[in-house]
């Protein structure tokens, strides 16, 4: 039996077609994400799998290394302009930063800076899917993360450094500081951004204060939408590559911000002084007192 459905309504059909054409970023691997972000045909990977720049430390600990150590560095174009994507593969060792993986990022940022200094601007984009420092490389991972921070702070004076938190692993540990240093931060609702992992917070603060199995609580504190609504991120996008490409280009077009959020010291000291730790706001409550769009 035939029947007409709402699907024939032109507005709904267009929306449905767009929904079906959506390409999920979350479902992609890091390399595919980098390929999908860059203009078609422009992707060129540096230190790719066949260069075999692996971790020198993991095999010593009986852990199988990955040929690219979990970071993809790719040059190409974004909207016709030179860009370099540094994409972390969250499936390998939880995206943990080791000596090589972190050095790929720090090194690429340094080369981008050199290019900017000689009048060849290049847009740096970091795809942050990482638990922080790779514990199996501890102090070297940490040292090179510090070098990433140094590179970003220098580079972002010349060109906006854009971070994207685009997956289920989230962005934690020393790499959450990296996110905090970016000129612009793009998040998905599924993202999480926080210095400390939920399990560690539960361990240190106790389950009454923080229950790591309470997903609602976690996302209300550190989830993508919460971070965007309280001014810790600049764009909240749906899980779609073309939305990401568009957002990256429009953020890049804004140029270097007059002041980065990590430089907004007086404002944040004032805001914290007005909070009573004995009667703190909850996630939704914070959105009223620390609204988005006022942190840079």
């Amino acid at each position: 039996m035939m029947h007409t459905t709402h699907d024939d309504n032109p507005i709904t059909k267009e929306r449905r077609d767009r929904f079906l054409k959506r390409q999920s970023i979350i479902e992609m691997r890091a390399r595919q994400r980098a390929q999908a972000i860059l203009d078609p045909g422009s992707f060129r990977e540096l230190l790719g799998p066949f260069d075999r720049m692996e971790s020198p430390w993991l095999p010593l600990e009986g852990i199988v290394p990955e040929s690219d150590d979990g970071v993809i560095v790719a040059r190409g174009q974004l909207g016709g302009r030179p860009a370099v994507i540094m994409a972390i593969e969250g499936a390998f060792q939880g995206g943990g930063m080791g000596e090589v993986s972190a050095s790929k990022i720090a090194g690429a940022l340094g080369l981008a800076r050199r290019d900017c200094e000689i009048g060849k601007p290049i847009l740096p984009v970091l795809l942050l899917e990482t638990g922080g420092v790779r514990l199996q490389e501890a102090n070297l991972g940490e040292a090179v993360v510090a070098e990433i921070h140094a590179e970003i702070i220098a580079l972002r004076r010349k060109v906006p450094v854009i971070g994207v938190i685009n997956g289920m692993v989230g962005c934690f540990g020393g790499m959450s500081i990296t996110a905090g240093l970016c000129s612009y931060l793009v998040v998905l609702p599924q993202a999480r951004l926080e210095l400390n992992g939920p399990e560690v917070i539960e361990q240190e603060a106790g389950i009454d204060e923080f229950d790591a199995s309470d997903k609602h609580l976690i996302w209300s504190l550190m989830g993508g939408e919460q971070r965007y609504e309280t001014g810790f991120a600049d764009a909240l996008i749906e899980d779609d590559v073309s939305a990401l490409r568009q957002t990256l280009q429009s953020l890049a077009a804004r140029g270097v911000p007059t002041r980065h959020r990590s430089e907004n010291v007086d404002e944040y000291r004032r805001r914290l002084a007005r909070i009573d730790p004995a009667a703190p706001p909850d996630g939704p409550g914070l959105r009223h007192i620390w609204p988005k769009g006022e942190t840079q």
Partner: protein, 275 residues
């Protein structure tokens, strides 16, 4: 005084020793101490995190680097940058003894990641503005705390002492997360240098400018304090001759052996950068 209490006050001990008669700057927080010491006629800004059992944020009472601590450090570093804009850039010394970052629900909600980013940003900005920035590690220097307060220095110095520990995570937690025993971690640290908790092993990585030996880290007599001051002054002079960024941590003999991969990655990236 228990061992733990005296350990967690190493920051205060060394801050007071190095600040000597200098009047502390009013930071508004008991947990952040700042002073402009006078060394050989030159003004040197010292900063440290110390325990504050009355901290209004309960998770930052034992020398942790919490929300207000990060932003306050940032403020006082930037204050020095502003004040010295048209004059001599005073050296800035981070005295590092940080139990960890603060962990808690409020810390999470209110963006402790950005607070630490602000501190790191301020130190790096001072470094780039021409201030010699030095970190002196006198106690614990765990991950987030060190990234925010010390790691952006031109040069890292540490006291050679068993309780001077630089690491990514507390041993018990690291054991849990990597599914090993503490004994297994200790064993690994003997051959895998980046995993060691021993400062002498750490020194082999080429990240430290100097490991200062022969100093009583808990109760230094005047002559040892003077020596540490002298080593810091020497580091400052070295920076003034050779400022640069953090690349001194790569261009040294230890790094060439134990950070060979860090160097090779950069070299090969540079080779492949242009088609």
């Amino acid at each position: 005084m228990s061992a733990t209490t005296s350990l967690s006050s190493r920051g205060r001990i060394w801050f007071q020793a190095l600040a000597d008669k200098a009047q502390p700057v009013n930071t508004g927080l008991e947990s952040v101490v700042v002073a402009d010491a006078s060394w050989g006629g030159e003004r040197v800004r010292l900063l440290a995190i110390v325990p504050d059992p009355q901290n209004r944020f309960p998770r930052a009472r034992h020398g942790e680097l919490g929300l207000e601590e990060g932003w306050t450090l940032a403020h006082h570093v930037r204050e020095a940058i502003s004040a010295d804009r048209s004059g001599t850039k005073r050296p800035i010394i981070a005295i590092v003894d940080v139990q960890s970052q603060a962990y808690g629900r409020i810390e999470s909600l209110l963006g402790i990641h950005l607070s630490l980013a602000a501190a790191a940003d301020a130190y790096a900005t001072a470094r780039m503005a021409g201030h010699p920035v030095v970190a002196l590690i006198v106690g614990t220097a765990l991950s987030g705390g060190l990234l925010a307060h010390g790691d952006q220095a031109h040069r890292l110095l540490a006291l050679d002492d068993p309780q001077v520990v630089i690491q990514a995570m507390r041993k018990q937690s690291a054991a849990r997360v990597t599914r090993r025993t503490v004994e297994e971690l200790d064993e690994l640290g003997k051959t895998i240098i980046p995993m060691a908790y021993d400062i002498r092993q750490f020194a082999k990585l080429g990240l430290l400018h100097e490991l200062i030996t022969g100093v009583d880290a808990d109760a230094p007599p005047a002559v040892q304090i003077a020596r540490v001051k002298e080593r810091l002054a020497a580091a400052i002079a070295d920076i003034r001759k050779n400022p640069g960024d953090l690349t001194s941590r790569l261009n040294n003999p230890d790094a060439k052996v134990h950070r060979a991969a860090s160097i090779e990655v950069r070299r090969r990236l540079a080779e492949q950068w242009e088609v």
